[in-house]
Amino acid sequence: MEMREEVAVIASATSRFTKKEPSILELSCQPALKIFRETNIDRTEVDSVIVSTCSMLQYTSSIVCEMLGIRPNKSCRLDNLCNSGSIAIASACSEIAAGFSDCALVIGAEIISNSSAKKLEWDLTRGQFNHPVHWASLFARSHMRKFGTTEEQMALVAVKNRKNSSKNPLALFRNKITLEEVINSKKISDPIKLLDSSYVCSGSSAVILASKEKAKKLTDNPVWIKGIGQKTTCASLSQLLSKHDVGFTTTQEAARQAYKMSQKRPEDIDVAELHDAFTITEIMAYEDLFLTKKGEGGKFVTQEQLSINPRGGLLGCGHPIGCTGVAQVAEIAAQLAGRAGQTQVKGCKTGLVHNMAAAGTSSSVLVLGQ
């Protein structure tokens, strides 16, 4: 597959992530208003709006459009749990590539109380162990058993990402943590501890995508979506975690697609946003995105060639479920456009976003470039 029409990210903004409980509608508008205030993009340019959220508020996207003063041809809400945001971006990209839209606004927004992913009650095969930490701990145990991954290696992921988030003014957690603090934090589900886990919070992010022609008109600094890969295998845990494979097969397939479409290789990636809902998921993502060999994710944490989760990831920034994928794309676009502020990775030209949902039953991978 190849992109029929070039699509660019022409603007992005993200709100401060918090433990507060603002209105989902006002929160949705915040980053979009920031874009319209700080760029030359007029809201009349927007002809498509997608709001990514797990909120069950009816007609969210049209209400948000009215609040923003936008009259698009199309608006809709999209929910696919933690993987909502990147699917919303991919959907907007598809519309532009197909000629249905020239300029799309994608908003990701979540407030703590409507984060349904705290418990996966619809999956009956998980029984009473329906919190995401339960599948994560089973994956972690398997990874430790098969590849010798250690609790210290997992803790290093948390230390790294919290160090990064300490420089990010929008992050939920601004304080650094030590290896000892992670190791000695409260046990949740062995070997996952409190500081191995991301925190579900409130937050919003917005990205404006445009066709090549529109991008030329509206910005001097576009970031191009070079490749998209998506895969869904199932919804329930009943078909996951075979005795032969400790990995997210959806991530592997989505990565293959995204690398192929973008004509990039794993070694071309300079900066990446990985779905570190738990420390073990970042380690597994290194492997499933082919950044390192299977089983060597634990040792990859300390590598220095590639900047991973420079804004602090989900562990440092927090995890507003429907917003996360949009915030990840916003961050990589900002990195490649050279406007990432204190978290800027110098000289990055190619970036990757990895977003997934519900024990990796669905995944999205996007490759972006200058």
Partner: protein
């Protein structure tokens, strides 16, 4: 729906794929993912057993708890001896 099949399993015996201990329940609970006839189910493990990957386990109880959540309980499978 063409792929949905109902099967009655006479002896709910499966293999333990992975296990660990949860501390975020009302009390620490050993639990694991068990493959029974090609379907993976997560359930609690009897505290008296020392689990190991690949161990044969039997579902000894299942149902719906008062809060509406399903539950499954497993114990080590011991093959009954035939009558002499």
């Amino acid at each position: 729906m063409s792929r949905v099949r109902l099967r009655k399993i006479r002896t709910p015996v499966g293999h333990l794929i992975e296990y660990t201990t949860a501390y975020n329940m009302s009390r620490p609970l050993k639990f694991g993912i068990v493959n029974i006839g090609g379907i993976n189910i997560i359930g609690s493990l009897d505290l008296s057993i020392s689990p190991s990957v690949g161990m044969k386990v039997k579902m000894i109880n299942c149902g719906i708890s008062p809060n509406g959540t399903p539950f499954y309980e497993f114990d080590k499978y011991v093959k009954r001896r035939g009558k002499s």
